[in-house]
Symmetry: C2
Subunit: 340 residues, 2 copies
Amino acid sequence: MKNIAVIGYGVIGKRVADAINLQDDMKLAGVCDIISDWRIQNAVRKDYDIYAATEEASDKMKSEGISIKGDMQELLKKSDLVVDCTPKKIAAQNVAIYKEQNIKFILHGGEKHETTGHSFSAENNYESAINLNATRVVSCNTTSILRTLTALKRADLLDYARGTLLRRATDPWESHLGGIMNTMVPEKDIPSHQGPDAKSVDPDLDVITSAVKVPETLSHMHFWNVKLKKQASKEEVLKAFKTSSRIKLIRYDQGLVSNNTIKEMFLDMGRPWGDMYEVALWEDMLKVVGDELFYAYVVDNQAIVIPETIDAIRALTGIETDAVKSISKTNESLGIINSY
Amino acid sequence: MKNIAVIGYGVIGKRVADAINLQDDMKLAGVCDIISDWRIQNAVRKDYDIYAATEEASDKMKSEGISIKGDMQELLKKSDLVVDCTPKKIAAQNVAIYKEQNIKFILHGGEKHETTGHSFSAENNYESAINLNATRVVSCNTTSILRTLTALKRADLLDYARGTLLRRATDPWESHLGGIMNTMVPEKDIPSHQGPDAKSVDPDLDVITSAVKVPETLSHMHFWNVKLKKQASKEEVLKAFKTSSRIKLIRYDQGLVSNNTIKEMFLDMGRPWGDMYEVALWEDMLKVVGDELFYAYVVDNQAIVIPETIDAIRALTGIETDAVKSISKTNESLGIINSY
């Protein structure tokens, strides 16, 4: 059984730890962070082994009554692979340590492709990650772009894609710190980085994105305009999207008219934190005009990369060499099913 | 085993149904509503017996493939008690039906005290509800006022209380419909209705409230200024609050600095929808100046009345005549414990 460490117990790290804990072919070796407040109490409650990233953090945690198993070095020694979920600058420093100790590692979308030399999206390029030393699970927005465009590409429908990305302003728990109000803040550069980033996984994609930050924290929403290779029916397009187990077709006429209603549905389903691992794409809003395709979907920025990360662990450790089998196993463990 | 019907499967109804389903001394007879979209799918997933409130709703549900057990009359016939969770005007119509059929019923805070002649708050007046035909579980804000002031009263500390209530604008799933933005909307009248409403449970309370709607959907927040009967220490006040199992003392210096951080903590804990049944009161913010007491707390408007409703069911049906035992049983079933 491979031992997996989670470094950084924030929005992504706490979800990755729970997801690892749900698998029967890998083991959570422990979590490591510098926080000592209510956030780490979640790991205490779940009885995870906790490691302190710095000596200062260790002292602070101990003074808060948190029982610590050791420092980051000790956690790494026990682990076969590290999932780094720390903020950008910390991750870059950690990479040097992972390389020096020759331990496999997974980074997230905030890092550069060059840091690992491989970027990962399960339905697109699982096979190319098998037994590698490192990969980068691409960001939430990029993951959603890859899932949807890969589905169109598999059906030989995709010529090129142009998207407008409405990004949530910050994470829900942080909205007292990094919120915006009564404004919309566009990224200055077109293309925004997400389109080019998708090419780090699939260099053949012709995709250009623009992005704007909007004053809400629930999820991202994307609007796409795709040039098809040929005239196609709406049914052909939907059939293509249905080949992905991680695209959930939803209906506006079923009352799912906004991202807060979608969030509530996933809370109704009992998903932890109301997490939506799928891309929720409006089936009835989708429109084909000649060889042009228009659609919109919602992306849960906190959750969509979690199943991807589990698959990346399987690929890098080589415990599963079949992408379909890994995806299906991950889906089952997280309750990702085609009908709700 | 008493059979309990839930009429109205909205924000409160779906939670009440789940809570009933968790008890071992009562049985969920079924849920009844007119909705046929994603909201009722939650009841389908949970395999609850679904009844249609109107013929029109029945047709709509059937056309959506929802299997229906019957109409509202049929549900009432199978039930010993009804929890009505419908919107204001519907509940008033339903009461005539409940009375005609001589079935016990519980209403929620939107209704008038006069409709039932009894208003309920478990820690305050459970005993007076035993074997009654009807009661009204008071609103979220009023419940929080009663829990906190009753605790101070039990310790013989309370002279009078003055509170400012910051109310969430609407429920999360509805914020695309009833939201407000970039504004704060005060209630015109002082006292606002919540203070007087608390007197429907405890006529002796001297309490005056003012209220304002703020542009967020997570929870209410109250600021209180209480005149004590005598000079008291902060420790005495905290000890009084600790006598309530449904007041959760939290600490600002533990990073819980806003209602979105508190929400995240309850999501971390795996509570359904991140529900907080407790009043979350800031222990370190609380201040005593002479015989004056100042404190603030957060109220989850979607969740706080759920344990109260379960206790009200036990009182009305007489299946438990001891308030402490009912409260403790309800707390255990919902995971309300004193330490997290």
